[in-house]
Symmetry: D2
């Protein structure tokens, strides 16, 4: 940690800061400057809480050099984490690129089975579908909830597909865990810390979506909550952030993928459907995510997007998805010799 003093901080102010550092068991190193003095804190074994320095006279700024996460950091765990989703399916490191697809929301048994059969035939291994739907307005469709979970369970049993669904509340975790294979934490819950702690107590793989206004650092600190409770199976999912631009649903910077991979050993996937909000932008962005090194994609597919109860405009129909899926495979083959 570095403490930058005000231009006009007195010697007494500097001494006061040095004393606090010593009282905390660390060592102060004074760096005099032309305009202001800075004081380095050394001797710490990780994150230093800056609370004792806040409000102290003469301090201009407190700069953290250490990050607010440790277990998720590549500094402490240099090798890629590889997560076993089933006996045959893994994600992370050099594991095959993973395609997750399915409807935004579980709407009916027929809709899910129809989609699942289509996806299975194509070769997709994981189906998505929301049973609990976080919606801006309470007047919008809120999901089939427990009934939706049962449909996902039956799909999993009958068609031998892996399933993923969002969990919105700690009290639903137990029930969700019984019905599906992979838990999802949605963007709006990325800093629902009680929920993070509870999924951290399960052993299930967790897809942790980036929050609408979360920095990369905050996102990784949220993953740290899950790992700290004992669950190492976190898959990050980039889905864009909120900015002033409204031409797309979110603003999604794909350079985040290689950047995050340099910070953490966890796998990271991309959700082009929420990132763009427009079906015609989903294929190019899904393909581009392969180029930048994503470990997978999660794509919304619906038998009849025009009648979807949510996210219709960003869902592909079967024909569109099949076309994209073939392109994904063609590009993956090319990539094998590209590196």
């Amino acid at each position: 940690m570095l403490i930058v003093m005000h231009h006009n901080a007195s010697d007494k102010d500097i001494e006061r800061v040095k004393k606090i550092i010593i009282d905390m068991g660390y060592k102060p190193v004074v760096i005099p400057g032309a305009e202001r003095t800075a004081i380095g804190v050394i001797g710490n074994q990780g994150w230093v809480d800056d609370a004792p320095f806040r409000g102290i006279k003469g301090i201009l700024e407190i700069i953290h050099v250490t990050k607010p996460y440790k277990l998720v950091s590549r500094d402490f765990h240099p090798h890629d984490t590889i997560i076993k989703l089933s006996d045959r399916i893994k994600i992370g490191g050099k594991s095959p690129f993973l395609v997750i697809a399915g409807p935004c929301a579980v709407e009916s048994r027929e809709q899910v089975f129809k989609t699942a059969q289509f996806l299975k035939k194509l070769g997709v291994k994981v189906i998505r579908g929301g049973a609990f739907k976080p919606r801006t307005s309470p007047h919008s469709f809120q999901g089939l909830r427990e009934e939706g979970l049962k449909i996902l369970y039956d799909v999993k049993k009958e068609l031998d597909l892996l399933t993923i669904t969002e969990v919105m509340s700690p009290e639903h975790i137990e029930m969700v865990e019984k019905h599906v294979d992979i838990l999802q934490i949605g963007a709006r819950n990325m800093q629902n810390f009680d929920l993070l702690k509870e999924v951290g107590k399960t052993k299930k793989p967790v897809v942790l979506k980036r929050g609408l206004s979360a920095t990369i650092e905050e996102w990784l600190a949220s993953a740290e909550y899950i790992l700290l409770e004992g669950n190492p199976n976190v898959i990050l999912c980039e889905r864009g952030i909120r900015t002033f631009e409204t031409a797309t649903r979110n603003t999604s910077d794909l350079s985040v993928i290689p950047l995050v991979k340099s910070f953490t050993h966890l796998p990271i996937i991309f959700d082009p459907s929420h990132a763009t909000g427009k079906k015609n932008l989903v294929p190019p962005m899904a393909l581009a995510s392969i180029i930048v090194g994503s470990h997978g994609v999660m794509i919304e597919v619906h038998p009849e997007p025009e009648h979807a109860l949510s996210d219709g405009p960003q869902s592909l129909n079967f024909k569109e998805f099949e076309k994209l899926y073939l392109k994904i495979n063609k590009l993956l083959t090319f990539m094998e010799e590209f590196e």
Copy 2:
């Protein structure tokens, strides 16, 4: 709702959209334009779900004229809501300006009682203090939790102050309700919809903070979740949003206060501590919020901000708060004759 068609939408595309509108029980009104045609939907009694129109060929844009909330809207409830916090204390409408103050976090019995005695003596009626603390990093102080609630309960009993604390998880609501008078939903939980629904089932007043990246419309739609469950006692709290500017903790636009008051009948207060993150900016912004019509303020006060376990740099010490409190009262007196 207005459906704007593409420049090159065919007559068949337009007919298809008209048919969907009729099938939904509404009436289409075609508005031909120089460059593109728009189709109005009329005959609806509220929010029209746009799902059936999504993905339909030829549609460029769907524009909602109706808002995603109804119960919180001034259109349907023109008069100010006045919330009874106790027999003597109310907020909203022309009720006296409400000052809520106290530490960011409940750290110890001594810290809370010391602050409470100071505040009571000054005339403050409501004390704040977090028992559950949402922190970016799991390595930071997480709050005293149940022990903190007990301290708040004792303060309430012994000093006859109203208390407010944040509730972060549905499973804690029952316990929190027993110990404090007012529930707070924090910025990070503004779209934790299960939590909103659960506090909607209580009768307690709820302070609903605006999310870091929430639009005003989303914020009001979150309040709608609480009202829809039967709890009309929602107090909105503006605390700034996240932007590219990092010189202050958040970016807080005070014009939001009169604007929100024109949209809704609910009371709205301002939190200058989180809005600015800097103690020297708290007094001017607290005072400015009075000018723009806020119903109250929530301010962080700590006996020793330099030793606070969280939010030290934005907490006022007793002397600073007293000075501000006197100014608030002086300005309120002036305001009585200003309008």
Copy 3:
């Protein structure tokens, strides 16, 4: 300046950085940390260019402690700058609060004279009016240009009012200077560095608006361009920034005013018309800016806002402005004894 090294930087990497610092004539101070080493640069007399460190192996981050401006900084010029606008009118320090008002655009001689006579009668000293209009679309009204400047000149002569107008291009400065008293640099031109340098060569007072996406630091660095060319008469003007919220035209944080006053000695005013974009939000925000310490306001007034060629929805009509002006004066009287 502080250079933070990577977790796995080698001793050789650290030595390389130290050598560069020494070659630049400064002194390196090594601060070893638990996770990574930092190296302080000392001995500099101001801003250190970080170019030589960029791309050097082993460097994680470069942190500037010194600011990219000097002449505008309160560190080097602790006392408030007071700018003489005329023999009788000053701005800055403890000078009287300055109200600038007038139409967004100069539309006709009649419109400007009508407004000017109204403002003069009320006691307003400075009239605004754009002759050159920066408009998003080339199909919108672009201003009367030279003809508009002549109207402003005549108003100034006949009514003895000070005038302010925007200058958009270096080649117009000479002409604008001859016709008006105060030059304005618009938000979109805040980083039009050639324009800044040219107005820096005049002696006229310059109102420098904050850019839509400019940090406070960049804004002050832009002011530095003007001062560095020899013109110390810069008045900063906060007008809000662009964010994801579209309910108001811009997002304007009034805490910027006391914050900027702590960084610089230059005067700062507030533009509630552009900040909000809505006429009913202009009065509360104009008044609130007084509370936070603004040196003045710039407000759009139009004889018939409904027929304004630009910015109609944010312009006050005469009656609305008069009501606000009386309130401003009443609040200013109160403020004299408030501090």
Copy 4:
């Protein structure tokens, strides 16, 4: 255009709006709704100025259906524009992908020639280099200006490369035009409308960078300024926008490329250097831009990035660029059969 009336707008209010529409020569179409009435404006031949409706009693919102640009719109010019940069080199439509490379700033004859010889040998056709540098601080290197232009001219003559450089002020256009082949308008000048008009009067190709806080609509409206003056040779350049995330220099959403291509017939390229600000993120993003359909890339290359006078951390050295260039070509070959 659609005018949405307030919930409580009276019949008189509605009649007033209808009258204004009729007075403007258009036709009003009333669309009654459950909560509020909307009034469509029909009969217009393009953009309708909303000025006459602003401030009119009873109006809640004005919604434009027509865009603020026309010449750049694909609606009016459905076929891709192909721009001739020289007898042999074109950009746009199905023309070969264009790689522009070179240093951020022209620093010396030696630096530019060394880079140019390297690029020419590789097969790159266009070299970039800034003679005029827009820098946040006036204390940073401002470019070699006229001397830099001469160096670019000599490179062009001696090595037969096309050259591109930024023009920052209308008064420099004539000089810049004589020395280089392609003019660049930088992000900070995207709404420097006088500059846009002046480059619109030349016949040179113009690369128009997107502004830091510009919407796609504003960017296209800026291009309209150039086309309207008679210069149809505009190449758009996406380089990311400013958001709350500071881990990368800007936030760049590649979906903007296919989206913009659906709105306009103009070519669009991508600048991964400014988009990311980090050299290791440049290659993946440059390659990803090919996948999403970019017409080219502009990449910063420097013989010794560690000694660059500006943008060192985002510049590739020769070895890094060569590696990337080979990958670009390999991917382009793959793409020929991918569509």
